[in-house]
Symmetry: C2
Subunit: 149 residues, 2 copies
DNA sequence: CTGATATAGTTCAATATTGAACTACATAGA
DNA sequence: TCTATGTAGTTCAATATTGAACTATATCAG
């Protein structure tokens, strides 16, 4: 990894913010141009698809996605209306609700993935050296670990 | 820089998204707890403060902040109402508007900075090794350069 | 100069997002 | 058991954000 003169963590922060804004903007544009749902929907569908039995408790999903509870309620409402997710009551805790991926939801996620993958590849992965990518991944993990308190 | 087994740029992407969401959330909470305006306001004030004559054209500021034009119009409207910014007509181009930082705006930014700096420091800078921070800064620059086409 | 096209910024209506109640159920301690 | 307190999720009202018109000015080709 090359040293860049005088570059510190303080310099990295504003670049972090701009890179995030510009990248998510570009990716949303591509999804939208392909008449596909947003990144937010993708994230929810993918989180559910990876989960045991393809379902998660509302609060678990909210935490995984870093979303407020009311936002998640609304999001799942939309996904449910679109038939991509269905709610089921938790038998263990009668207050609890599961959001479960439907077949249609899995199909939609699979349809989105090629477009999303191509965007990640072209706009993100290809632009970084392997060393940069690894340093970022390791760094992000540390940042996330630091916030779980 | 340590190698982490099997870590690739593809792994870095979802971590990037989550780290951004969690960090901005945490920072907004601190600003809000200190009864200070949002990160968005800070960004606008700081962009103006650095600019020649402490002012920028609306479109220039929108581009620098990665914001839609209508969003920027609204944001500057709020900042103006709060007395932190004032609009002036461009003499060269009568369609053009400058957003100019007021003294009150500079004072507010200065008041926000200690809280913001402390958050960046504790939640971001301190958690990264110098090598990680440099790799990130360099990587973000490349990502941003790749998007300007 | 004139008409055609492009650019700067705003407005407006639709949609997204947030936080503060609120409802229902669960858990712990007397 | 009974009360108190905590947790899961939703609702509602307030605020933020977006994209599609729209207004005004600029630029360019003839």
């Amino acid at each position: 990894m090359d040293m860049i003169a005088g570059m510190t963590a303080k310099d990295a922060w504003p670049l972090f913010l701009r890179a995030h804004a510009a990248l998510t903007d570009a990716i949303e544009s591509r999804l939208s141009a392909a008449e596909l749902p947003s990144l937010l929907w993708y994230d929810a569908l993918w989180a559910l698809e990876r989960a045991p039995d393809r379902r998660l408790r509302m609060s678990g999903l909210a935490q995984a996605m870093v979303l407020s509870r009311s936002h998640l309620t609304h999001l799942i409402g939309q996904l449910e209306k679109a038939g991509l997710v269905r709610r089921t009551q938790s038998p263990e805790d009668r207050r609890g609700t599961y959001a479960a991926l439907t077949e249609k939801g899995a199909t939609m996620r699979a349809r989105m993935w090629p477009v999303y993958r191509k965007a990640i590849d072209e706009l993100f992965a290809r632009r970084l050296t392997p060393a940069q990518a690894m340093a970022m991944a390791a760094g992000f993990k540390r940042l996330l670990a630091g916030l779980r308190d």
